[in-house]
């Protein structure tokens, strides 16, 4: 990891709490609220013994109160697991190396999420996509630790090519029908239509967009001078005679794009979390723990 920034050089936390506000339908036991009844700690409701044949949990008080003498049983929520999927944008724009390396930040996130998800007993999947889904960087849904280190190393070593992020939609389709917690890690510099299609595809899932931005691409633009910029995705070159008025215009455009994304994200999922230059782990943890 070659990030210059001290904050992002801090070791990533081992655990990242995340919470969901919906109920998992998974049968496998886990750490999240689910629709299953079982041996959880949280009281859910009462049922007759005929409905729920678990004589171990006969509620004596309720049974005695019943004038018809029906046997009542307490039902408890069982905690289930969920599937956590990370959609990782490895398109050209993620190769930007400004105040930090976007790919480095993305790899940090993948590492922490993989660890946290494994510890929570959930399944973790990762799909990396630019204009096609990268099989070598992707990890199918798994609860195993095997391959995790290789995955992280591969992500860190990966240098994004000059490609668009058009296959993110395709990666999103791979997630399947069961509701997943989907973390999208990207700079969201996608055409508006593609962005909309991506969120549309993920409509059945709990979507947590994490937007990686670099201060050097907008806030810290120089006020004066000549910049010869090459678009990382299209390769198009553009000479820019930067001056305060033009800088303001650029920032206005970038902000317009960001606000479009935020509106879209808010409509389809959770409020997006933004990472500028370095990952504020505690704020990210709080954001994920809020669950909405």
């Amino acid at each position: 990891m070659t990030t210059a920034n001290a904050a992002s050089a801090a070791p990533p936390p081992v655990d990242l709490p995340y919470r969901i506000i919906w109920r998992s339908r998974a049968l496998r036991q886990g750490a999240h609220r689910s629709t299953q009844s079982g041996a959880g700690g949280l009281f859910r409701d009462l049922a007759t013994l005929l409905e729920y044949r678990d004589p171990r949990r006969i509620d004596l008080r309720q049974t005695l109160r019943d004038p018809f003498g029906t046997l009542h049983v307490r039902r408890f929520e069982e905690k289930s697991q969920i599937g956590v999927t990370m959609l990782l944008d490895v398109s050209g724009s993620m190769g930007f190396h400004g105040a930090s390396r976007k790919m480095g930040l993305a790899a940090d996130l993948a590492q922490v999420f993989a660890t946290a998800v494994r510890r929570a007993g959930d399944t973790f999947a990762l799909y990396a996509a630019d204009d096609h889904v990268h099989e070598e960087l992707s990890v199918p849904p798994t609860r195993s630790r095997a391959g995790e280190a290789e995955m992280i190393a591969a992500l860190r070593a990966y240098v994004p090519k000059r490609r668009s992020a058009s296959a993110l939609v395709e990666a999103a389709r791979r997630i399947g029908q069961r509701r997943n917690l989907v973390v999208i890690v990207s700079d969201f510099l996608l055409p508006d239509a593609e962005l909309e299609a991506l969120f549309e595809t993920l409509i059945g899932h709990d979507v947590v967009p994490i937007r990686i931005v670099d201060s050097r691409e907008s806030a810290a633009l120089p006020s004066w001078g000549l910049l010869e910029l090459a678009d990382l995705e299209t390769g198009r070159r553009r000479l820019v005679a930067m001056r305060p008025s033009l800088k303001a215009e650029w920032q206005r455009r970038i902000e317009a794009r960001r606000s479009f994304f935020r509106t879209l994200a808010a409509r389809y999922g959770r409020e997006p979390f933004e990472i500028t230059d370095s990952i504020p782990w505690d704020r990210l943890g709080a954001h994920l723990a809020a669950g909405a």
């Binding site: 510099l189 050097r216 120089p222 910049l227 910029l229 678009d231 000479l239």
Partner: protein, 333 residues
């Protein structure tokens, strides 16, 4: 524009001048996405300016290295003037003053005065073609028709040499006519005869001259530097005197010229001022249109090519100095 190169081989390199159109002189910096950000007209203009400056710098350098120059050439122009033959009497009497003595002190001989005034005349006639012939005992072809002022000046200066005794006007005129004959352009032709006396022209020579003058129109001016006290052109002999060419050569030469049926004027001058007036008069009269050739010398354009290259490179240098980086180089991996 007749441009040429000393080393045309360098033109092989000229396609290199197109490189700035393909490659930028600025260091490119990666930027996530410029989509959705409109191009700025000033930046676009600047981009093209830098590219063109690059093309110009390379092309100018190549041309400079190749030794760019403009070929010397002559161009045809139209002005006012004439083709003039100065026919100068070199007889020894020309070296005397107008008073007929050898010059002493500040005095000026006839030839010196004529020389000075003729040179002045030639200097002020920009587009004339001038030939010089001299005569005394026999005619001398001094200078063919030329526009080269320096040569004409030198030829007029050469009148300084001491002359011979005899004055052979007839053969001198024949030579002047020959010189005019060689020139085929439609410009006005002028013969200016400068002499301080006349002589008998042989009958046979007279016939030849008559025929030659008849062939084409020639303006003849006779600048007669008359010595004080000698008979002039218009001196009518006294009844008791002989009216023969031998006795009064000036009067008979004038008559002969008048009988030629050409445009002819005689100026009688008894002092340098009169000579100047006569020459000015000739200058006024000879103002017909003339086509002349102006010579434009070979010009070395290397220095200019390099200057253009430097100017273009200064533009590029300014752009280079104005370059800023998104990411400081110290932070680059």
């Amino acid at each position: 524009m007749n441009l040429a190169l000393a080393t045309p081989m360098v033109l092989v390199l000229l396609p290199l001048a197109l490189l700035p159109l393909l490659l930028s002189s600025q260091r490119t910096q990666s930027y996530p996405s410029v989509e959705g950000i409109e191009t700025d007209p000033l930046s676009v203009a600047l981009d093209w300016l830098l590219r063109i400056a690059g093309v110009v710098a390379i092309a100018a350098l190549i041309l400079g290295i190749g030794g760019l120059h403009r070929l010397g050439r002559t161009i045809e122009k139209t002005g006012e003037g004439a083709h003039i033959v100065l026919l100068v009497d070199r007889s020894s009497s020309m070296d005397n003053t107008f008073a007929g003595r050898a010059p002493e002190g500040g005095e000026e001989s006839k030839s010196a005065a004529a020389r000075r005034l003729l040179k002045d005349f030639i200097l002020h006639r920009d587009h004339d073609l001038v030939g010089v012939a001299a005569f005394s005992t026999s005619p001398m072809h001094v200078l063919p028709m030329t526009e080269h002022k320096g040569a004409v000046m030198a030829a007029v200066d050469a009148m300084d040499r001491p002359g011979l005794a005899f004055t052979n006007v007839g053969r001198g005129l024949a030579l002047a006519l020959d010189m005019q004959e060689a020139d085929t352009s439609p410009a006005a032709r002028v013969i200016v005869l400068i002499s301080d006396g006349a002589a008998v022209i042989d009958r046979k020579v007279q016939e030849q001259l008559r025929a030659a003058f008849a062939r084409r129109p020639i303006n003849l001016y006779w600048l007669f530097l008359r010595t004080e006290g000698t008979p002039g052109i218009s001196t009518v002999p006294a009844p008791d005197e002989q009216d023969t060419p031998q006795a009064m050569p000036e009067r008979h030469l004038d008559k002969f010229f008048k009988s030629l049926g050409i445009s002819y004027r005689a100026f009688e001058a008894e002092n340098p001022q009169a000579v100047a007036d006569a020459i000015a008069e000739i200058g006024k009269l000879e103002r017909s249109p003339i086509t002349y050739f102006e010579r434009i010398p070979h010009e070395d354009l290397k220095a200019r090519a390099f200057a253009v290259a430097i100017a273009a490179m200064l533009v590029l240098l300014a752009a280079k100095l104005a370059e800023v980086r998104l990411v400081p180089e110290s932070e680059e991996a």
